[in-house]
């Protein structure tokens, strides 16, 4: 019996979209066709609410090898090598089952990397949970971290960086974004475009089960209700061992020159992989679902086509190469099966044995999903409730410093990073906590620096400025390591874009991201969109996660964040005016409501400051460099003390009106840095950019004078406060 319009609506299509589908087919779709259309026309696969916006982003530059549209973006890193990278979300699966959700998130992004022929060399992650005083948040954190570690560690790809924030706005809708970075010789890259009618289509990897059926359209694109327990059976389970074999097998297939095209299976499984391969190549594909190895024998054709079973790849090869392909699969103990062939029909034909069970135009399926305009409308202030106050008005600056260091958004991430293998593959020159960006060695002495960042609270206060700040922060992190940005990836985690205020957040954020990346010369080469992130109490903070890759000429001079030598001078660099407490971490601890708008950033100035820092690091002039972020100047200096095991004495003079001591000590603003080194070097830096000598490295305490204010905290006290997250993992 043919499904009807009500089935289409249940699968997430609108009535109008259903009518369009029927028009494209010239008849009502059958079950297989409707399932395939509903997935390909879901937000997750079609970007129907975001594509028009994303077209405004800068995507081109001299180093761009591959922009958005392929499995991942790619930039040239010299010597014929290409760095491939992308960030992707696995939010809803992680909220349902955090261990498997996070694990398969890592598995999925890794497949995107090796689908291009690149060996994955690093993983970073970006996590958002509710405040850790909630038992559910602690559970989600614990299991998501374990899941990331389980997958990344087992497959032998180092997790070299990441970030985590805790805010009430993520209490029922956590965010788990994973970024992967790969390396490949440019001439060895492979694309996903199928070509050559008569060529074979080979499925290899895990067998196909009922995992995640409906996942892409139900799990990834529907708002969350209270019934998430019922969704558990459709959660995908990750098998990093299978993926490790799949990775090595894929790379060997490419090394032997056996493949015409390669694609991973992710959201929407075979449907998405095969139809996108056909679309990119302008060809058709016939698939026989009867040849797909199944984990459950009684699966229907539509289930096979939409299954999201993990650890599977699809390749195209010449018919005479099939035996060689299957032999490489056998060597790696990976199951490979020829399941179809490339045609010149421009149609996806799904067969079961000799019977045609689905016949759809590739273009209609992949490219013709209607795109929607957003109806943005700036919300009235007060969209988000103010944070809960944990720091009283009577607190002294010393109290504030210790509270900030212990706050979950600032405390040391070591208890998380110790659960990740950050050193496998022998490239990690700056491990987590050693520098603002992770630094990986390249053959030839140069290096890659990678960073990932987003501050949802600032974006909630001002989507344009907050998003630009996230991109600038990534570039600041790279500058502190001595690296220059090459390219950017992003994952836009937002609420329901059909709501005008979310549409406004999204529109403003994309504008901010585009402007910042244009100014940085760091084009956006790939990314992902995760919309409909809303829990029972409302939308999440809009969270555009930005990942950036940069290069440095000499890893031996990669920067560090920790103070390194007694007697070194310390300078605060980059700011022309006192920073503000608006939307700062201190304001959060004080329970202040989010401001409606942030102070504008002079992006060109910040980019210039970053260049000066980068050049000083590369010249070996600085012994440490650290950007001032959450918690402001005093927290940044304390972090330099803790990373280097050395104290500091600061004399900040008298507060310059109208700034208060609080703003001076804890205000936040893009483009500020704490650097240390010989005072002559810092003075030289001050000839290019604003720089203020503020103190000296030494002793076993952080001592600060600011007018009449005195702050004194021993290193042991600072360290104890900074270790607050350890208690979450006992």
């Amino acid at each position: 019996m043919l499904p009807g319009v009500q089935d289409a609506v249940a699968l997430g299509l609108t009535e109008a979209e259903y009518a369009l589908v029927a028009g494209k087919l010239g008849r009502p779709p059958n079950q297989v066709e409707l399932a395939m259309f509903s997935l390909m026309w879901s937000e997750h696969c079609s970007y129907k609410h975001s594509r028009k916006l994303l077209r405004t982003l800068p995507t081109e530059g001299p180093r761009v090898v591959m922009g958005p549209g392929e499995n991942a973006g790619a930039v040239s890193v010299g010597d014929g090598l290409v760095c491939v990278f992308k960030v992707e979300s696995h939010n809803h699966p992680s909220a349902v089952e955090p261990f498997q959700g996070a694990a398969t998130g890592v598995g999925g992004i890794l497949r995107d990397i090796f689908a291009l022929g690149a060996r994955p060399i690093a993983v970073l992650d970006s996590l958002r949970f509710g405040e850790p005083d909630s038992e559910r948040s602690r559970y989600l954190l614990d299991r998501a971290v374990a899941g990331i570690g389980h997958y990344g560690n087992s497959i032998g790809v180092p997790t070299v960086g990441g970030e985590v924030y805790f805010e009430d706005a993520y209490e029922t809708n956590c965010l788990v974004n994973a970024m992967a970075v790969g390396l490949v010789r440019e001439d060895a890259m492979i694309r996903s475009a199928a070509s050559g009618p008569g060529n074979a289509v080979v499925l290899f990897g895990a067998s196909t089960g009922r995992d995640g059926i409906g996942g892409a359209s139900v799990l990834a694109s529907a708002e969350f209700g209270a019934d998430d327990a019922a969704k558990r059976p459709s959660v995908q389970v990750g098998d990093p061992f299978e993926e490790k074999k799949l990775l090595e097998c894929s790379l060997e297939l490419l090394e032997r020159g056996l493949l015409v095209a390669l694609q991973d299976l992710g959201a929407a499984g075979l449907t998405s992989s095969a139809s996108e391969m056909a679309s990119k190549g302008g060809v058709g594909i016939d698939l026989d679902v009867a040849r797909v190895p199944l984990r459950e024998a009684d699966m229907e054709p539509f289930e096979i086509m939409v299954s999201e079973s993990q650890e599977r790849m699809l390749c195209v090869c010449a018919p005479e190469r099939v035996d060689d392909v299957l032999a490489v699969c056998a060597k790696w103990e990976v199951h490979g099966t020829a399941i179809g062939s490339v045609t010149d029909t421009g149609r996806m034909r799904i067969l079961r044995g000799g019977e045609v069970v689905g016949d759809l135009p590739v273009a209609g399926l992949v490219d013709d999903c209607p795109l929607y305009d957003l109806a943005p409308e700036r919300p009235a202030p007060g969209l988000y409730p103010p944070p809960r106050a944990v720091l009283g008005q009577e607190a002294t600056p010393r109290d504030a410093l210790l509270a900030l260091l212990a706050s979950p958004n600032i405390a040391s991430r070591l208890p998380l990073f110790e659960q990740y293998d950050w050193l496998v593959q022998s490239r990690t020159v700056r491990r987590p906590g050693e520098a603002d960006a992770a630094v990986l060695q390249l053959p030839g002495g140069g290096g890659l620096a990678v960073s990932i960042d987003a501050n949802g609270r600032r974006v909630a206060a001002d989507p344009y400025t907050g998003t630009a700040a996230a991109a600038l922060e990534c570039a600041s992190n790279l500058a502190c390591a001595g690296a220059e940005p090459l390219g950017t990836t992003n994952n836009l985690n937002f609420g329901n874009p059909e709501k005008p205020h979310i549409a406004w957040q999204l529109t403003e954020a994309v504008r901010g991201l585009g402007d910042a990346c244009r100014a940085l010369g760091a084009p956006i080469v790939g990314g992902n969109v995760s919309l409909y992130n809303e829990g029972l109490e409302g939308p999440i903070y809009p969270t555009p996660v930005v990942g950036m890759v940069g290069e440095l000429p000499d890893v031996a001079r990669a920067g560090r964040l920790g103070f390194a030598a007694e007697g070194d001078a310390i300078a605060l660099v980059g700011w022309r005016a006192a920073p503000s407490l608006a939307a700062s971490e201190l304001a959060k601890l004080r329970g202040e409501p989010l401001p409606d708008g942030l102070e504008e950033i002079d992006v060109a100035h910040v980019v210039g400051v970053q260049a000066a820092i980068r050049e000083a690091v590369r010249a070996g002039a600085l012994r440490s460099a650290h950007d001032v972020a959450e918690g402001g100047l005093l927290v940044a200096v304390a972090e330099c003390c803790l990373a280097g095991g050395l104290g500091a004495r600061l004399d900040l003079g008298a507060p310059a009106a109208p700034a208060t001591p609080w703003e001076r000590l804890f205000g936040e603003q893009a483009g500020g840095f704490v650097v240390s080194g010989p005072s002559a070097a810092l003075t030289a830096l001050g000839e290019r950019i604003p720089a203020e000598l503020i103190g000296t490295v030494g002793g076993d305490a952080l001592e600060v004078r600011l007018g009449g204010e005195r702050v004194h905290a021993g290193l042991a006290e600072l360290r104890a406060a900074h270790a607050a997250l350890a208690a979450l993992f006992t």
């Binding site: 074999k245 659960q419 050193l423 496998v424 022998s426 890893v555």
Partner: protein, 218 residues
Amino acid sequence: MRFGVVQFPGTCDDRDALLACRQAGEAELLWHGDADLRGVDAVVIPGGFSYGDYLRVGAIARFSPVMEAVTAFARAGGPVLGICNGFQVLCEAGLLPGALLPNLERRFICRQLAIEVVDAGTPWTCALAEGQVLSIPAKHTTGRWYAPPELLGDVRVVFRYARDANPNGSTDAVAGVASAAGNVVGLMPHPEHAIDALRGSVDGLGVFASAAAVPAGA
């Protein structure tokens, strides 16, 4: 000196071990499916998750064809080093005493550690000094070495975690042990990840240099 580095499905630190061996000699990969060591002078079984650590760490890998050849090579006195998962495989294969249990904290731990050389009389430690403390990272979930009390007295302990550095709760802070003859050594920390000052430490080089310093056939 020619090292062979064994590669199982799921091995992760094979290329790292090759890099380390090449600091001391020549090195090549040995495929798990070949019961042939291609005439190498020393065998390294590297870290990773052979067969996904499924069933029990090292339990499946020990039955692969290459392990028959490694066992014969070890019984004939050939130097064999098992690192992390390699240590687990050698224990499962009965070439080393004891077994590896889950860390007390039940988590994966990746940490730079201080490791003390306890026995410099093996081919993998002869270029080191007893009492020498090495800075070497460890990374594992199942690294708590255990031997029943009645066997403990006979075990040749080669490495111990320095004071307060035991990351997993192993018996007597044991980080690595040797066979009775000393030619087979296994340890949980990763000396192959301590071979370049740029990446944090060079203290692991001595392990590979030791094997290279042993006269062939000795």
